[in-house]
Symmetry: C2
Subunit: 328 residues, 2 copies
C-alpha cells in the first residue's frame, strides 16, 4: 500500500504539480491481476435480466469433440473464429431474471467446487452474483433446462445442503422422469451416461428433491417465462422464451454449444449431445426461427455476456454478439 | 432493505425450509437498474491492459453520417449489424496499460461533463477507473492519439485543473502543431473545425500545456508502446502498437469509427474524418495489415471491451469480437 499512499500524496501536492511531470522514483504500480466481475444487465420489456458468469472451462481440444467431423476440420473452424486450436474454451452463463419482483435463476453453473478441478476459472456463479448485489437467499425460483452438471450442480452446496435456501426448483418433466428412472439407469452405457445418472441422483436428493416441481412445454412456468421443448441435447432439454411488453429473448440452454462451432455448423454433432440426430433437428429448427424472426438469443455457452443475434450464413448460421450497453 | 432482512431470516429458518417452497408474501425484489462496471483486463505479454469504458453516446442517425453513401445504405448496414437504424450508438473506450510498473492511459474520454449533455451515458471514465481499483493520481503518462473531444476533453476537470495531476501528456507532434497554429485556426471553416480549434485551445492551456511533450511516428514513446502514424481522421492522428514478450495489440484510435459500418465499408467516408481520402487510404492499409497478420485490434469506438480480430470479407473487413475472458 506504500506506493498508493505516496501517489495519493503526490496527487494532492501543489508543489509537486508545478514540476509538470511525475517525480522520479515514483513507486511502480502493481498489476491488478484480476478480471472485472462477470455480470451484465439488460431489460426485456419490464423484466430485468442479469447475466451472471460461472466462469470458463479450458481443456485440450478432444479429437472426439465432434463425432461426425474430422478433428482437422474442427481445428480449422476454431482458427477461423480466432480461437485457440489447442485448448477448447467453454463458458458457463446462468441468468437471473427479475420478473414482477420475483428473482428467477435459469440454470446454476457448476457449483462451488467447479468442474475439472478448475476452481477459480469456473464455479464463480456465487461470487459474480454477489458482485451483482444479489445473494442465493434472494432467489425465489430456479428453472433447470436439463440435467448436465454445468446446469444443475450449483443446486447443492459442498455440504450437500440446497444452495438456494428459499427457492422452488422447476425442472422439465420429461428430463426428470428419465434421469430418475431406475430402469433407464440400469441400461445406461458405462462412462459418460453412467456418470450423469450418478451425478443426477446425487444432486436430486435430500432437501433439493423436496423443492422440485416439474413443468411441461408450452407452459408459462413463471410470469413472462414460457418453456419450449428443444430435445436432443438431452432427452427432455428445454429452452425458455422470455417475453414482456412486446420484447422477447430466447434463452436457448444448450441448443448449441459454442456458436462459432455449432451455430456455424448445425449439422455437426457435439459429443455432449445425447440424441445427436434429434439435437441437430432441434438446432436447425431453432436457428431458422432465430434468424427469420431476428430474435435475440441468450446462449449458456456463448461468450459472456452471451447475448446475440444470428443470421443465415453459408450452410449454417453466424452469430453477432450484441454490443455491451454501458447503460441498461 | 426490509425485504432483504426478511429473506435472510427465511433462509436461516429450518421450519420455513421444510415447507419446500418459499413462503407466500415474499417481498418483491427491487430491480437493480444499474449496469456492471465498465472495465476489462487482459495481458499483452508482461503488460496488463485495463480497458476502461467512458460510456456511450446516442444520437439520431444523421443523414450526413457518411458523406459518400446514401442514408438508406447506411441504415441497411446498421440493420445488417442488428443495430438500431434510428439511433446511432457510439462507445468511447480509453485503455490503461501497466508497463513496467508505469500506468499509461491512451486517450481520455469526454471528461466529467460528458458529451451532448448525456452525463450518465458517457463521461464515465473516472467512475469505471475507480471500479477497476485505480485513480487519476496513479496515471504516470497520458498518450493522446488525436485532438477530438472524446479523446482529449478528459485531460481537464470541470474546474479546468489537470485531471491527471501526476501525468506527463504525450501528444503527436504533427497534431499539436496543427491545432496550435494561429494561421490554421484563422483559416478553419466555420462549424465543426472552428469548434475543434476552440476546444483544443481550451484544453491545451494552463497547467495541461505545461505537461505536454510531443512524439513522432516510429518512436517507442513508453517502453512497449510504439507510435504509428495513421493520418486522415485528423491531420496528425496516431495509433499505438503495444508489444511485450512476443505478443502485440494494435490500439487503433479512430482508424475506423464503429467497425460494423466502417471496417465493413472501408471506402465510406464518415463525417468525423478531417481528410477523407487520406483516412480511407490509412484505413485500407491498416486493416489489410490487421487481417494479414491476424493482429488483435483495440478500437476506441468498437463495442466495449473493444478488442477484436478482423478478416477480409466481401469488399471490406469483418470484425470478430474477442470473447470475454473470465480470467486474465
Amino acid at each position: 500500500m506504500t506506493q498508493l499512499t505516496r501517489r495519493t500524496l503526490l496527487g494532492g501536492s501543489a508543489a509537486a504539480l508545478s514540476l509538470g511531470f511525475p517525480a522520479l522514483g515514483h513507486a511502480a504500480a502493481p498489476a491488478a491481476g484480476k478480471q472485472a466481475p462477470g455480470f451484465y444487465r439488460y431489460k426485456v420489456g419490464d423484466i430485468e435480466v442479469t447475466v451472471v458468469s460461472d466462469g470458463v472451462n479450458r481443456f485440450k481440444v478432444p479429437d472426439e469433440l465432434v463425432s461426425n467431423a474430422k478433428p482437422a476440420d474442427v481445428k480449422a473452424a476454431l482458427a477461423a473464429a480466432f480461437m485457440s486450436t489447442e485448448m477448447f474454451e467453454n463458458t458457463y452463463t446462468p441468468v437471473v431474471l427479475n420478473t414482477a419482483g420475483k428473482l428467477v435463476l435459469i440454470d446454476t453453473g457448476t457449483g462451488e467446487a467447479g468442474f475439472n478441478g478448475s476452481k477459480g476459472m469456473n464455479g464463480q456463479f456465487m461470487n459474480n452474483l454477489a458482485a451483482a448485489g444479489m445473494n442465493a437467499g434472494m432467489i425465489d425460483t430456479v428453472i433447470i433446462s436439463h440435467y448436465h452438471g454445468d446446469h444443475v450442480n450449483g443446486l447443492l452446496k459442498t455440504d450437500n445442503t440446497p444452495a438456494f435456501p428459499n427457492a422452488e426448483i422447476l425442472v422439465p418433466a420429461a428430463e426428470h422422469r428419465f434421469w430418475m428412472d431406475d430402469g433407464e439407469m440400469s441400461r445406461a452405457p458405462k462412462g459418460r451416461m453412467e456418470g450423469l445418472f450418478k451425478n443426477n441422483r446425487r444432486v436430486f436428493s435430500g432437501d433439493v428433491i423436496k423443492r422440485v416441481k416439474t413443468y411441461d412445454s408450452g407452459k408459462e412456468v413463471v410470469p413472462g417465462i414460457t418453456a419450449v421443448s428443444t430435445p436432443g441435447h438431452s432427452i427432455g432439454h428445454h429452452s425458455h422464451m422470455i417475453s414482456s411488453a412486446g420484447k422477447t429473448v430466447f434463452v436457448q440452454g444448450d441448443v448449441t454449444n459454442v456458436p462459432f462451432l455449432f451455430a456455424r455448423n448445425p449439422g455437426w454433432h457435439p459429443a455432449f449431445d445425447q440424441i445427436p440426430a434429434q439435437a441437430e433437428e432441434t438446432r436447425r429448427k431453432t436457428y431458422d426461427m432465430l434468424a427469420t424472426d431476428k430474435l435475440m438469443v441468450q446462449g449458456f455457452h456463448y461468450p459472456f455476456p452471451s447475448v446475440a443475434y444470428v443470421e443465415k450464413s453459408g450452410t449454417g448460421y453466424r452469430e453477432t454478439m450484441v454490443p455491451w450497453n454501458p447503460t441498461i
